[in-house]
């Protein structure tokens, strides 16, 4: 904690991240192996959903990570704007594709769960609809980064967009829930809540931890790449001047 501010220094960050990454990677692999084993072999079938409940062990952690990555992006964006830290802006940039991937995964596994449970690939369920809109928010964020050539300006613009998004997400969630109660009977089988038995909770949490570890590992890889790309830009600028 005392050394936290030193991580804002890109060179020190690189050193730290390269030292920590192998250990996080090993821990993630172990968690992932345990999680998959628990979800496929140990967890009992659900009395309602049968073996289809095993899809939940991928779907729910993906949805968690989809939201978590956006939170990381928003906090990093705020830090970047407030303390003018390039590393914070790069963290937000590095987190976006990971969050988008988890969002996509949540949508795909949600459809694979919905087909046997609801009899259709897609239902305009409040949860699925919110996740779909979250996916569009990620796409917009990534597209804005790519559209602006000047790197410093792209970073700050994207940070403003991430913050506007994070203010809007609760409102979007609320409005979609509202819309859903108006247009759909409440009889559809819920994806969450009491339908998940407590014996299914352990595999869910282990998979969640594994996905979180994966997020950290890939974030550190992408962030290192962004830091190196920044060094390349600086070097080129110096050379073109000199």
């Amino acid at each position: 904690m005392a050394n936290w501010h030193r991580l804002a220094n890109p060179t020190l960050f690189l050193e730290w991240s390269r030292r920590v990454r192998p250990w996080t990677g090993v821990a993630t692999a172990a968690l992932l192996a345990t999680g998959v084993y628990l979800s496929l072999f140990v967890a009992p079938r659900d009395y309602q959903q049968g073996d289809a409940v095993r899809i939940m062990f991928v779907h729910v952690p993906s949805a968690w990570m989809a939201l978590f990555a956006y939170a990381v992006m928003a906090v990093a964006s705020a830090a970047g704007l407030i303390w003018k830290s390039p590393l914070a802006h790069l963290t937000a940039k590095a987190a976006a594709p990971i969050g988008a991937s988890f969002t996509l995964l949540a949508l795909a596994t949600g459809a694979l769960w919905g087909q046997p449970m609801w009899g259709t690939w897609w239902v305009w369920d409040a949860r699925l609809t919110s996740v779909l809109i979250l996916f569009f928010l990620y796409l917009g964020y990534i597209a804005l980064w790519q559209a602006i050539d000047d790197h410093a300006r792209a970073a700050k613009s994207a940070a403003i967009l991430a913050l506007v998004g994070v203010v809007n997400i609760p409102i979007i969630k609320f409005s979609v829930d509202w819309w859903n109660t108006l247009h759909q009977p409440a009889s559809v089988l819920r994806m969450d809540g009491p339908s998940i038995h407590s014996s299914l909770l352990t595999p869910l949490l282990v998979m969640g931890a594994a996905f979180a570890g994966y997020f950290v590992v890939v974030l550190s890889i992408r962030l290192e790449r962004e830091v190196l790309a920044r060094q390349v830009r600086t070097l080129r600028r110096v050379q073109s001047r000199g």
Binding site: R18, A52, R54, S101, L105, A108, L112, V232
Partner: protein, 65 residues
């Protein structure tokens, strides 16, 4: 212990359970591979630029005793 084929059938939900895990594995593997490839390219690019060669890999210099 149930038989292997019974396990693979997933109580009739095999066409949904296995693709879900397969898609998850594919997406996570591809993202990891893509990120590693980008990192390697950036490293090579930085090394190919003149100047500061020794400073660009501080940790790796420390890794090799």
């Amino acid at each position: 212990m149930e038989s292997v084929s019974e396990f693979l059938e997933m109580g009739g939900y095999a066409p949904f359970v296995w693709p879900a895990f397969a898609i998850a594995a594919a997406v996570l593997t591809l993202l990891l591979a893509w990120s590693l490839r980008d990192l390697r390219r950036e490293r090579n690019l930085l090394d190919s630029l003149p100047g500061r060669r020794s400073e660009t890999r501080p940790a790796e210099a420390g890794d090799d005793p």
